[in-house]
């Protein structure tokens, strides 16, 4: 890089670079980097999914069938780490990368080179983490929460801790980039209270990421020094306390839960108005509800630790604070339904996934409310009821929103329409089998089946078999998604219009489909009637 380089800023303003390495590894283009994130997330989704298939295969019948218990524990641990840090979070960052500059009228992210670094750290971090499965002593097997002292027995702790440090650096840089883009790069006229709800949700999510990823980095650093350098943070024999780890971890962990759902709320708030052909009901309430949820997420962490032996006062405080979250969440669900009320609705695939999201996420929300009650949680803690709860919010919640977003914006990305028929086949298979997979787990949990155990009492056999069958078929259904994607990108003959959807509003629909390599090199003129949520000057 030299002075010369700065004089030809213009030479890639005309199209994508020809060289593969230059285009994908040296990119400063938010669309290419967004694509990289999305492809990476999809790959990780299938790797994490294959771990889940292993888990369900082992749990198909009581007794040990296929694997040793240690390997089973590795699968549950890796499944969670891969899905959370490798699939859900990068998918949201990819969607944010692609759509936020288009939605606010910016030419690119605020810090494009850092954006590229944020992405490229991730594949290396996951190589480091997944490689532990093949190392002597095996991978991490103490659960994704890595509670000491169990996690300190693992030989792979250093690898996992450093992988988490890398992912944290990546997330923090990505979040800084998103905040700077939203606050600094908006086109003139795109006031904060005119931004699409998806942009708002990402602004608040990015704040959460910057606030809590460093806390996780601190917690795992203490694990590292406890294991390798003889500190006693989590060792009561040296004056420490293992519960301290849980406090710091869940100070990260609970906001992390919202990091994985707030962008989903944003996506649903874009899709529902489009297919109901009405502006969103209560735009301001939607924005404030997201901000409320984000604030509350910092003062509820100990509800993950009710059974660990907290003082009574703490249990009562965290119980009530947790139940408070249902108020802004209820506002959101109410407003989505109210947006559909009286709308002229059509049910294309993105809308189907969004409606499934609203219903099934609400089920997950209600089971969360049950667990917020301290006395009830003593029964639910560490059972399959918890597993069912967080899969309802993460699979039918976060993942369904990501899939809905992929269908919704795919024509804008590729310029081609996907196959509506196969999209619907994918939807109906997903929504049926995901319930067959996770709904029985509520009953298993209430009956007392513990999580993270490869074997179980024969009394649980029937529901486990049903759940496993649902799991295999849900997993297989996702192959349809890959087929739809490949068809849409490479083979679809049906070209997308600029607006794509009849009711779609917002700046991203004013650019051609596929979106040109460079958009908005000059700030666009923002007209209120073009905006997704109409006039919000009430």
């Amino acid at each position: 890089m030299s002075y010369a380089a700065t004089h030809d800023q213009h030479d890639d303003h005309h199209g994508a670079p020809k060289s593969f390495f230059q285009r994908w590894c040296m990119s400063t283009n938010h669309k290419d980097i967004g694509t990289l994130y999305l492809v990476f997330a999809l790959t990780m989704f299938f790797i994490g999914g294959s771990f889940a298939m292993g888990i369900r295969a082992e749990l198909f019948k009581p007794g040990l069938q296929l694997m040793q218990p240690y390997f089973f524990n590795e699968l549950t641990t890796m499944h969670a780490l891969v899905m959370i840090f490798g699939a859900i979070m990068p998918a949201f960052v990819g969607l944010g990368n692609w759509m936020i500059p288009l939605m606010v009228g910016a030419p690119d992210m605020a810090l494009p080179r850092m954006n590229n670094l944020s992405f490229w750290i991730l594949p290396f971090a996951f190589i480091l983490m997944l490689s532990t499965l093949f190392l002597p002593g095996g991978g991490p097997a103490g659960g994704w929460t890595m509670y000491p002292p169990l996690s300190l027995q693992s030989n792979s702790l250093a690898y996992v801790v450093f992988a988490i440090h890398l992912m944290g650096i990546s997330s923090i840089m990505g979040a800084i980039n998103i905040i700077a883009t939203i606050l600094n790069m908006r086109a003139p006229g795109m006031d904060l209270m005119k931004m699409p709800v998806f942009v708002w949700s990402w602004l608040i999510t990015a704040f959460l990421l910057i606030a809590v990823m460093p806390a996780l980095a601190g917690a795992v650093t203490m694990l590292l020094t406890d294991k390798y350098f003889g500190t006693n943070f989590f060792n009561p024999g040296g004056g420490g306390d293992p519960v301290l780890y849980q406090h710091i971890f869940w100070f990260f962990g609970h906001p992390e839960v919202y990091i994985m759902i707030l962008p989903a709320f944003g996506i649903i708030s874009e899709i529902v108005p489009t297919f109901a052909r009405k502006p969103i009901f209560g735009y301001k309430a939607m924005v404030f509800a997201i901000a409320c949820i984000a604030f509350l997420s910092f003062i509820v962490w100990a509800h993950h630790m009710f059974a660990v032996g907290l003082p009574l006062g703490a249990e009562i405080f965290f119980m009530y604070a947790t139940m408070l979250i249902s108020v802004p969440t209820g506002v959101k669900v109410f407003n989505w339904v109210a947006t559909m009320w009286g709308g002229s609705m059509t049910f294309e695939t993105p809308m189907l996934f969004s409606i499934a999201f609203i219903i099934l996420f609400t089920i997950g929300g209600f089971s969360g409310l049950m667990m917020a009650l301290v006395p009830a949680d003593f029964q639910y803690h560490d059972t399959y009821f918890i597993v069912a709860h967080f899969h309802y919010v993460l699979v039918t919640g976060a993942l369904f929103a990501i899939i809905a977003a992929a269908y919704y914006w795919m024509p804008k990305w590729t310029g081609n329409m996907y196959s509506e028929f196969w999209g619907k086949v994918h939807f109906w298979n997903s929504v049926v089998w995901v319930n067959v997979l996770f709904f029985p787990q509520h009953f298993l949990g209430l009956a007392g089946m513990p999580r993270r155990i490869p074997d179980y009492n024969v009394a649980f056999a029937n529901f486990n078999m049903v759940s496993s069958i649902g799991g295999f078929l849900f997993g297989a259904s996702q192959l349809i998604f890959v087929g739809v994607l490949i068809h849409c990108v490479f083979f679809s003959k049906k070209k997308a219009t600029d607006r794509v959807w009849e009711g779609a509003k917002g700046l991203e629909w004013t650019v051609p489909s596929p979106a040109p390599y460079h958009t908005f090199e000059l700030p666009p003129v923002v007209r209120d009637e073009e905006l997704a949520h109409g006039h919000v000057n009430d």
Binding site: L224, F229, G239, L244
Partner: protein, 295 residues
Amino acid sequence: MGQQHDAYFVPTKSYWPIVAAVVMFITVFGAAHWLNAGPGEAGFGKGVLTIGVIGIIGMFFGWFRSVINESLAGSYNAQVDTSFRMGMMWFIFSEVMFFGAFFGALFYIRMYSLPWLGGHGHGVLTHQFLWSDYVASWGANGGGGPEQVGGAFRTVPAWGLPLLNTMLLLTSSVTVTIAHHALRAGQRGKILLFLGLTVLLGATFLYFQAHEYMEAYNELNLTLRSGVYGATFFMLTGFHGLHVTLGTIMLLVIWFRVLKGHFNKDHHFGFEAVAWYWHFVDVVWLCLFLFVYIL
């Protein structure tokens, strides 16, 4: 490039990000392998770690060189400047949260878990079964309790070297501010003098800190293994020391950049970013002085 300032600026593609990702991977892979090698095993971890660290240093040189060159060529408009400023501010906020995890650990241990181990309030049974004759205390006053698991130790008195170090850092915050005002007034000699003073004060702080560590290890028997007191003491002051080291290096780079005339009174984001960072490190030290040394 005349109309550049009316339009948006998007930088050219660059190979530094992917180089950065690769060298970071090499570093942590080497470190993990080194930590995991059993006693007596040679392993290749140390070598790989060294290569990685050298790579990271080289990457920083290269990346910043290209950014500085672009900045000097006038490619960056006011909007880019604002993006950089936001980036630095939020980065410092993330650092605050990182130190927050360690301060949180310190407060939790002192306010809750140690008293519980001593039988107060909530932790009666823990006390009964683990350390039934333990009297909760902090630091050297404890009678051989669990926080002294690495052997009896004495603590570093707050009013000796730590007080001196507090003075040094506070003074350095003043000198860097004087340098900033001089930069705004365009007095280059004054900038160089006061910025140089800041670097010297930072380096002196580090020298005393190293001295304090050696004294702690050799004379006070206060080590990383001295129970949870040693853990919190060394991790908090250690991470702070690391940040002072980085800050001093950054100030030194800025000093050379001033010498080369890279900044003018309107265009000196690099200077301000480092000054912010320095003030942040200063504030962390004040918290350390209060909560680790005095209380």
